[in-house]
């Protein structure tokens, strides 16, 4: 049988961002898949060499819109380690609050896109209606809905008082109640099960060898979560365990993200009980020297920042390795052997954020 090559993308209704996959097909089954990226390359790593240390926070935040707070957090933690700055306790807890709110809105967005990829539009809209509450919370506490710019070197720029924190907790309880209504559809509905079970199986050895990170790796049995291994920010005082499933198919990846939503709500309750009083930032003077690596758990996986400074006001090198960059080789391994109609579901299962990949 002759083989045919179909270009999937770069514009496709199911993809949130442009990505091209050249699929080699034989009779509706995919034989090989080669990715082609480069449609949104902005050269941000070069731009960071021309701006000074405080201005770089705003450049780095705009690498991705969905995980923007964690990019700024990883950068600030790296610079604080180079300059030996001790961040106050209240600032570390506030960073956990905004980080977990970002994780909540990212996973709700993903649930909606997954429902859209197999054509279930009303479930897509239910998930995004729930997400609007999180965006309103971010506007109330930080001033902006998507890119919140509340990190600075030495702490945070804005404070959240006790009454607003109580309002956040009550809204998170409402989100959890609404989530319990429509997660039943993802977990038990007859047609959804046919689209998700047994599709794109990634075994544990393959996931480790190919370097899968985040929920893709955790759904195949790898127990790696930077929040519980590195315990940055205030996670050393909070109770957290990585959420692991063992089957490695698309249903397992959906279950990991739904359970992480409940875990985020639980972490926010813990922060409400334990947050101390105090100041939110310390003044920082001088320029850093040396090189450092900082890692943070984004909603999509582990992000790594390599920073090199030489004592002047500009940094010499800022290198970012985002989780979707590490999850593309597992995608190239999962696609051969699947049907053409399963390709959109598989691409969305790794949660592609192509603007992070290309910077």
């Amino acid at each position: 049988m002759p083989k045919s090559v179909i270009p999937f993308g770069p514009q496709h209704p199911v993809l949130p961002e442009p990505l091209q996959l050249k699929l080699v097909l034989q009779d509706e089954k995919v034989v090989e898949a080669i990715p082609a990226i480069g449609y949104v390359h902005r050269g941000l790593e070069k731009l960071t060499e021309t701006k000074d240390i405080q201005q770089n926070i705003f450049v780095v935040e705009r690498i991705c819109g969905i995980c923007s707070f964690m990019h700024a957090l990883a950068y600030c933690q790296g610079i604080e380690e180079l300059m030996n700055v001790q961040v106050p306790d209240r600032a570390r807890y506030l960073r956990v609050v905004w980080g977990e709110l970002h994780r909540t809105h990212s996973h709700l967005l993903w649930l909606g896109l997954l429902a859209d990829s197999f054509g279930f539009e009303s479930l897509f809209m239910q998930a995004w209606r729930c997400r609007e509450r999180v965006m309103d919370l971010m506007e109330m506490t930080a001033g902006s809905r998507v890119i919140i710019s509340t990190n600075t070197i030495g702490g945070t720029r804005r404070d959240i008082d006790r009454e607003t924190l109580g309002h956040i907790i009550s809204e998170v309880d409402i989100i959890q109640a609404e989530l319990k209504e429509f997660e039943q559809v993802f977990m038990y509905d007859y047609t959804v099960q046919h689209r998700l079970r047994g599709v794109g199986v990634l075994t544990k050895e393959d996931a480790y060898k190919l370097g899968a990170v985040g929920p893709v790796g955790r759904a195949s049995g790898l127990a790696q979560d930077m929040r519980s291994s590195l315990r940055y920010a205030a996670y050393n005082e909070l109770d957290i365990e990585p959420i692991v499933e063992t089957e490695g198919d698309s249903y397992a990846r959906t279950m990991v993200r739904i359970r992480e939503l409940h875990q985020s709500a639980d972490l926010l309750h813990q922060v409400y009980d334990k947050i101390p009083d105090g100041e939110i930032a310390v003044p920082v003077k001088g320029f850093p020297t040396g090189e450092v690596i900082s890692r943070v758990e984004q909603p999509r996986g582990e992000v790594l920042y390599y920073l090199k400074a030489n004592g002047t006001k500009n940094l010499e090198r800022v290198r970012v390795r985002t989780p979707t960059f590490a999850n593309i080789p597992p995608l190239m391994h999962m696609l051969p052997g699947s049907l053409l109609s399963d390709v959109p579901v598989l691409i969305l299962c790794i949660d592609p954020c192509i603007s992070c990949t290309e910077r």
Binding site: I37, K46, G211, Q224, E291, Y306, E316, R321, P329
Partner: protein, 123 residues
Amino acid sequence: MLENISDINTDQLLSVTQQVDLEGYRFVTASCVDNNNGTLDLIYHYDLDGILKQFRLQVTHETVVPSISRIFYAALLVENEIKELFNVNITGIVIDYGGHLLLSKGAPESPMAYPNQITIERR
């Protein structure tokens, strides 16, 4: 300074990578830094149980660096990117994009290497 970093040269690269694979490390990424004096630093990062281990390799634009993508398949994208943006001669990558992974045909050649062909305008 980075902890757990050791310096190697191009002959030792493949044997060190095989060794690290047998010990059970996971490939994280590779970084390239231009030292602005004709040499570049290639740093390979590996991870086991949350602890990082690094290897630094100092090369010039003419040094032939063998690819590690036959041992770690996950390295193919980052080696293509380093070859394209910094003009390092990496040979034998499993899928070679020929310099067009991120940059298109009309883009400047190796934009991140020194001397920089790009000026940022301040208007």
